[in-house]
Amino acid sequence: MSVITIVYTVLMYTATLILVGGLAYRINKYARTPAPLKIPTTPAPTTTSGVVMRMGREVVFFQSLFKSSKWTWLFGWIFHFSLLLELLRHLRYVLNPLPTWVVLIQPFGKYAAFGMIFGLAGLWARRVFVDRVRYISAPSDHLMLALLIAIALSGLTMTYVVHTDIISLKEFILGLIYFDWQPLPPDPALLIHLGLVAALMIVFPISKLLHAPGVFFSPTRNQVDNPRERRHLAPWAAQLETNERS
C-alpha cells in the first residue's frame, strides 16, 4: 500500500471523526442549553406544525434572506442548492448497489459545480465590492469561499479535463466504509479534491459552518407563539422559584 493511500486513509477517517464528533458535541450543546423566554420573531406560527412549515421555508427557500437582499439570496440559494445536488451525486461513490434516483440525477449533478462557482463568485464579489460587507469580513470568511471554490474547481477538472479512475476511487471509499482498505488512484486533481474536502469537514464544527445545525435551534424561528396559553419555564428559572419558596 502506497504512502499516499495510507495518508489519505488516515486523513479521511480523521476528518470524518472530527466532523461527526464535533457536530454531535455542538448539537448536544445547543439542545441542552435552555431557552428561558419565548422569543419567536412575530408574526410567528401558533402551532408546532406551523413552526415546522416556517423552518421548512427557511431551510429550503431561505425565506428571511429573500426578504432581506435579493442578490445575496440568489447567489446563496444557487450555491447551496448546487452543493446539495453535488452531495447527492457523490453518493455514487458511497452506495452499492446504486439506487435509481442517484443514477438519474447524475447528468444534472454534473453541471451543479458551475452553479456552485457562480453562487460563490457572486457572494465573494459582495464581500469585495459592497463596503458594508467588506467591513464585516474576516480573513476566514474569504478563505472559506476560496476553499469551496477550490473544491468545485478540482472536481470540475476531473469531470472535464483529466479524468480519474472512478472505479478504483469507489473501491477506495467502500474500503474505508467496510474497513477493507484499498489503494487510492494517485491523480493530483483527485488528491487535491479529497484533501480540500477533508479540510472542509475538519473546519465545519469549529467555524461559521455551524449555521447549518444552528438554524434549527434558533429560538426566534423554532418557537411556537403561545406564551399566554402555555407557561414556558426553563429548568434554571424553575429552580430560582423553588429556592425562593424554601
Binding site: T41, T42, F62, V133, G214, P219, R221, R228, H232
Partner: protein
C-alpha cells in the same frame, strides 16, 4: 452636560443606503449609573480589579443559560443581509451600528475565550482579548441598539441582536458598568412602583383631575379608579400615561372604553408601571422582580382580569414573558387571555357593536400608524398571527375617516423603531435618538406629501415620548404624534347605545 452638538440627517427624496463612516458614533455614551443605584439591582458599584475574569465568567454563565446567545454567537456567516436594516446605521452611517458588526463586538471576545479557532488562530477569525477599549466599545455601541429586532426578521438564521445586546449589558452590569437611565428607573420601580417615581397621592390626584376634565368635556361621570379592591379588571399602563401628552389622552380613552363596556376596573399604585426595564438590561432576575409586582397587585386587589395599556416593550414582557416570570395566573378568570391588551379589549367591543363611534370626531386629523417594534416583532394581539398589525389599524379605521399606511417596507414586521427604545430614551443619548429616527421620519414625510397626513398614531409610551422630542428636528411639530386611544376617546359617544 454637554449641549447636543450634531447635525440632523437630511431627509432624502427616497431612502438610500449610506456608505460607512468608521467611528463617527464612538463618542456616544450614556451616563453611567452611580454605585448606590447599582447596589439596588444587585450589581457591584466599582470596577473590580479582576473585571476581565468576572466578565468572561459571566459570559460563560449566560452561554449556558440562553440558547439564543450560544447559537447566535456561533451561527453568523457574515452574509451582510442585516447590514442595511438597522435604523441607527441608516441614520448614523457608523458601521458598528450594522447589526452584524454590533454582534461582532461580543462575538470577537466569545471566539477568543470560548472557541478553538479563536484561541489558536485569533487573527484569522477576528478574535480579540477583552480589554478596556473593547469594554468601552461595548458600552458605546450596545447603547446604540434599541433591541427592536428588525435585524432578526431579515437574518437567515433569525439572529436577534437584541439578545446579544441584552447579554452584553448584563455582562457590563456584572462588572459595575451600568447605564444610569435604565438602572435608576428600575430602582424607582422597586421603591415607588413606577418609572417616573410618582407616589400614590400624586397618582390619586392626577386621576381625580382626569375625572373632572372628562366631566367638563362630556358631561359624563367617567371614573379613573385607583386601588379599588374587588374590581373586575386591573389596568397596568406605562406611568407616562399619568403624566404627559399625548399619553394621558390615551388613558382618558381607556377609561371611556371601560365606562361604555360597563365593567369595573382599577389601577394599582403598587404596580403602577407597565414598562419593565429589566428586559433592556437583560436581567432575568430584575425583570422578574418587576413583573411579580403585577401578580401581587392582582392578588391583593382580587381582580379577575389583567389588561395592559399602550406600551411597546411592556407588551412584549406582558404577552411573551409575564406567564413565565410571574405565572401561573390560575387565580384569574380563565375565559380571558392573561394578560390582554387594551386594543384587544376595545377591538372586541367594536366587533360586537358595543361602542358607538363617531368618526367625524377625528375629521380634523389625517392619520398614519407607527407599528411599535416590540409589539410588531415580539408579541401578538388576538388569536391570529399578525393580529398586532390588524387590530390597532381596525380600531383607527373605526374611529377615523382618513387613514393612510406608510410605505410597506417601513410598517408591520418591517417597521422601523422610533429611535428611542431599548433604554435609550434619555437626553444624554439625544444624538443617536435623533439620527435613529431618520428612517421613520422619511416614511412619515412620504405620506405627509402624498396623502396630506397630519398625525401619526402609536401604541407605545416610548415611541410617543421619543417622537414628541425628535419630530421637531425634522420639521414636524411635537403634537403630531397621538395615542390610538386618544382617537378612540375623540370618537366615542358616551352614554346609552344609540
Amino acid at each position: 452636560m454637554a449641549k447636543a452638538n450634531f447635525e440632523t440627517p437630511q431627509i432624502k427624496e427616497y431612502p438610500v443606503i449610506p456608505l460607512i463612516h468608521e467611528g463617527v458614533m464612538a463618542h456616544s455614551k450614556p451616563f453611567t449609573a452611580k454605585a448606590e443605584f447599582q447596589a439596588d439591582l444587585g450589581f457591584p458599584g466599582e470596577l473590580p480589579d479582576n473585571w476581565q475574569e468576572i466578565a468572561i465568567n459571566k459570559m460563560g454563565e449566560l452561554l449556558g443559560k440562553y440558547r439564543s446567545l450560544q447559537v447566535y454567537l456561533d451561527s453568523c456567516v457574515k452574509c451582510g443581509a442585516c447590514t442595511d436594516k438597522c435604523h441607527y446605521f441608516l441614520g448614523t452611517t457608523d458601521p458598528k451600528n450594522m447589526p452584524v458588526a454590533r454582534q461582532d463586538l461580543l462575538r470577537k471576545v466569545y471566539r477568543r475565550y470560548f472557541t478553538f479557532a479563536g484561541k489558536y488562530f485569533p487573527k484569522l477569525v477576528g478574535a480579540v482579548d477583552l480589554t478596556k477599549d473593547v469594554l468601552d466599545d461595548w458600552y458605546s455601541y450596545y447603547h446604540q441598539c434599541s433591541q427592536c429586532r428588525r435585524c432578526s426578521v431579515y437574518c437567515p438564521y433569525g439572529i436577534d441582536t437584541a439578545e446579544i445586546s441584552m447579554a452584553a449589558r448584563e455582562i457590563m452590569d456584572a462588572v459595575s458598568i451600568g447605564q444610569k437611565y435604565c438602572n435608576e428607573i428600575i430602582g424607582k420601580v422597586f421603591k415607588i412602583g413606577n418609572n417616573l417615581g410618582l407616589p400614590k397621592p400624586a397618582l390619586a390626584d392626577t386621576l381625580e383631575g382626569l375625572e373632572e376634565d372628562v366631566k367638563e368635556d362630556t358631561g359624563v361621570d367617567v371614573r379613573y379608579p385607583l386601588d379599588e379592591k374587588g374590581a373586575e379588571i386591573l389596568l397596568i399602563t406605562p406611568s407616562a400615561d399619568f403624566f404627559a401628552e399625548p399619553h394621558v389622552d390615551g388613558l382618558i380613552g381607556y377609561g371611556k372604553v371601560f365606562h361604555q363596556a360597563g365593567v369595573s376596573w382599577t389601577l394599582s399604585s403598587y404596580a403602577s408601571e407597565a414598562a419593565n426595564f429589566g428586559m433592556f438590561i437583560g436581567s432575568y432576575e430584575n425583570m422578574r422582580k418587576v413583573a411579580l409586582r403585577i401578580r401581587e397587585a392582582a392578588l391583593d386587589l382580587g381582580v379577575k382580569r389583567i389588561i395592559f395599556g399602550e406600551c411597546g416593550h411592556a407588551w412584549r414582557v406582558a404577552y411573551s414573558f409575564l406567564n413565565t416570570l410571574a405565572g401561573p395566573f390560575d387565580f384569574l378568570d380563565p375565559r380571558y387571555p392573561v394578560p390582554q391588551h387594551i386594543c384587544e379589549f376595545t377591538y372586541d367591543l367594536i366587533q360586537r357593536g358595543a361602542l358607538t363611534l363617531d368618526k367625524s370626531g377625528n375629521d380634523h386629523r389625517r392619520l398614519t400608524y407607527h407599528d411599535s417594534c416590540n409589539v410588531a416583532r415580539a408579541s401578538r394581539m388576538g388569536d391570529k398571527p399578525g393580529g398586532q398589525f390588524e387590530i390597532p389599524r381596525a380600531i383607527i379605521r373605526a374611529c377615523c375617516n382618513h387613514f393612510y399606511d406608510m410605505p410597506q417596507d417601513t410598517v408591520r414586521e418591517a417597521t422601523f423603531c422610533c429611535g428611542g427604545g431599548g433604554g435609550l430614551l434619555t437626553d444624554d443619548l439625544m444624538e443617536v435618538r435623533v439620527k435613529g429616527a431618520l428612517p421613520r421620519m422619511e416614511a412619515l414625510k412620504s405620506v405627509v406629501e402624498e396623502h396630506g397626513v397630519t398625525h401619526m398614531a402609536a401604541i407605545c409610551a416610548i415611541c410617543k415620548s421619543q417622537f414628541s422630542k425628535v419630530m421637531p428636528y425634522y420639521g414636524f411639530s411635537m403634537d403630531q404624534i397621538v395615542s390610538v386611544h386618544q382617537l378612540v376617546s375623540d370618537a366615542i359617544v358616551l352614554g346609552d347605545k344609540q
